[in-house]
């Protein structure tokens, strides 16, 4: 697969440099690390919000750095968790004494590295709390296994935890609202074409010209099943259906909707999916409060999309609506 890159082993470092040179007044890199923070970090008297994970999911996570959202993103190699010391640097960089909150996607590597970094930081006297996002209903939810993966719903957790922190929430309050968000958010994705890690060069999986995979993960992890490619309406209904089965909503519940492109799927197709999702939700009697259509949590150039539903209450609505300066999740 063709790429517009220089050295495949340097893509993350070069991307970070390009991010900083694009936003020199908003972002800075913690020297010698793969940590990007707000220019003004640590922000006095505010809980610092840190997220991150493997690279290749852009705009996640650095695109969500900004007032009202993340204070720092810790970037790993492509599709590889950042290591303990990098996460620790991220925590240190945004700690103003009020504590640091970690938003972790539920992958073994991410969980282990973030948790250990948190313990290290606590051993150094910092206050750290965390939440593990596991919104992907394609994976069985069982306490005996690795459990659900964290995918696009993570962006809602960034937004809501970020708003709570910006509004002066304590570490405990931020953790509480983040946990509520995780409890209320569900996603599922599908792919029609694969992606390739730059250092590997080759596509991570193959799909035949008439095939799609339902429930695929954002690193190409196996989904629920391979099927003949369906219409946008059928895909929208399959994803929405699986999510709703899991959510057990009540009539008149209010929702935020995110239609997320995985990389190479044009916006046009995301809007076509959105139209059917909205229709179906309306028919079922739910009320859509706010909708986000675009690329939020990608998988390099994978073709496909995911649908995320977040059940809202008054508090979540207020926090979702609170201003955010993050370039890829502006709210004013």
């Amino acid at each position: 697969m063709k790429k517009i890159i220089n050295d495949p082993n340097e893509v993350v470092q070069e991307m970070i440099a390009g991010m900083i040179s694009a936003s020199p007044n908003q972002l800075k890199q913690v020297e010698g690390t793969t940590v990007i923070t707000r220019k003004d970090a640590p922000v006095e008297n505010k809980v610092g919000i840190v997220s991150g994970g493997g690279s290749g999911h852009e705009p996640a996570h650095a695109g969500y750095i900004g007032k009202g959202m993340l204070d720092a993103a810790v970037l790993g190699e492509v599709f590889t968790s950042p290591s303990v010391d990098q996460v620790y640097e991220g925590i240190k960089a945004v700690d103003s004494g009020k504590g640091v909150f970690l938003v972790i996607k539920n992958y073994t590597g991410d969980v282990l590295n973030f948790e250990m970094a948190a313990e290290l930081a606590e051993a150094e006297g910092m206050k750290v709390a965390q939440v593990i996002v596991n919104d992907d209903v394609a994976v069985e939810d069982s306490s005996f296994t690795t459990g659900r993966r964290g995918i696009a719903g993570t962006v809602f957790v960034h937004k809501i935890a970020g708003a709570k922190a910006e509004l002066g929430g304590t570490l405990e309050e931020v953790k509480e609202i983040a946990e509520k968000t995780v409890a209320n958010v569900r996603s599922m994705g599908m792919a029609i074409s694969p992606c390739a890690i730059p250092a590997a060069g080759e596509a991570s999986f193959t799909l035949a010209e008439n095939e799609m995979e339902i429930g695929i993960g954002i690193h190409g992890e196996p989904g629920i099943e391979r099927q003949k490619i369906a219409t946008a309406a059928e895909i929208a209904d399959e994803l929405t259906g699986k999510i709703l089965d899991d959510m057990k909503l009540n009539k008149a519940d209010e929702l935020a909707v995110m239609i997320n492109g995985l990389g190479s799927t044009p916006n046009m197709e995301l809007f076509i999916i959105n139209e059917k999702v909205q229709k179906t939700l309306k028919e079922k009697g739910f009320h859509v409060y706010r909708t986000f259509v675009g690329e939020y949590m990608t998988a390099l150039e994978m073709g496909g999309c995911s649908v995320t539903l977040l059940k809202l209450d008054k508090e979540l609505k207020e926090l979702l609506d609170h201003a955010s300066d993050a370039p890829n999740f502006f709210v004013r």
């Binding site: 790993g76 190699e77 599709f79 590889t80 968790s81 950042p82 290591s83 303990v84 010391d85 990098q86 992958y107 073994t108 590597g109 282990l112 590295n113 948790e115 250990m116 994976v139 005996f144 296994t145 690795t146 993966r149 590997a200 991570s204 993960g217 690193h219 992890e221 196996p222």
Partner: protein, 206 residues
């Protein structure tokens, strides 16, 4: 046996040799049921470990283990980095302030490492992870109360091979559910090299 700084470094060097030799193989094991980076991760990390432990003078085995832990954690990455890092950190703690590391102390160190891995990974035996090799080896050593090369080698090898039969419920391989059966767990294979290296260090002593 008395486990010295010299032996500890020899052990790490031997681990690294085996990992480098089998880098492709480990990565190949990680392809069908993971993301195909285990060999790359381990090779990157242990190469650095060997550099680090040869760069400085160490007074105690505990210090060597700590330096290893830190390097593994920052350089291996993925799931295996923090797990192996934890293992070496727990050994470092177990050996702290011990002037002589005799068989019992070393076995205790390995047991602490195993417990660390299990706790960190929230894994138990039979989930197709590193634990499936570490637990049988530690149990055998405790049971026989005998620190012997053959015992370690054979137990580790059999345990690694047995992971082929189990279905993964932890780590990336768990997403493959039933399809994870029929493949050796890559982390168990790298753990086997670790114990094979240990057995060779013990052999040389004779």
């Amino acid at each position: 046996m008395s486990f010295t700084v010299e032996k500890a470094i020899k052990w790490l060097e031997k681990i690294n040799e085996k990992i480098q030799e089998n880098k492709q193989y480990l990565t190949k094991l990680d392809q069908p049921i993971g993301d195909g980076d285990h060999g790359i991760n381990m090779a990157r990390g242990f190469q650095e470990v060997v550099t680090i432990v040869n760069e400085k003078e160490y007074d105690t085995v505990s210090d060597v283990m700590k330096a290893t832990a830190m390097t593994v954690m920052s350089k291996v990455g993925g799931a295996s980095g923090p797990l192996y890092g934890t293992a070496f950190l727990k050994m470092s703690l177990a050996f702290k302030e011990k002037e002589v590391i005799d068989d019992a102390t070393f076995i205790h160190g390995l047991e602490e490492a195993l417990n660390g891995i299990k706790q960190r990974g929230r894994a138990i035996h039979g989930e197709k992870t590193l634990v499936d090799v570490w637990e049988p080896v530690v149990n055998k050593l405790k049971q026989e109360n005998n620190f012997q090369a053959d015992l370690i080698l054979n137990t580790a090898k059999a345990a690694m091979e047995k992971t082929k039969e189990t279905m993964a419920t932890k780590g990336r391989a768990a997403y493959f559910k039933e399809n994870s059966i029929g493949h050796i767990d890559p982390g168990s294979a790298s753990s086997f090299y670790l114990f094979e290296a240990l057995a060779e260090v013990l052999e040389e002593e004779k």
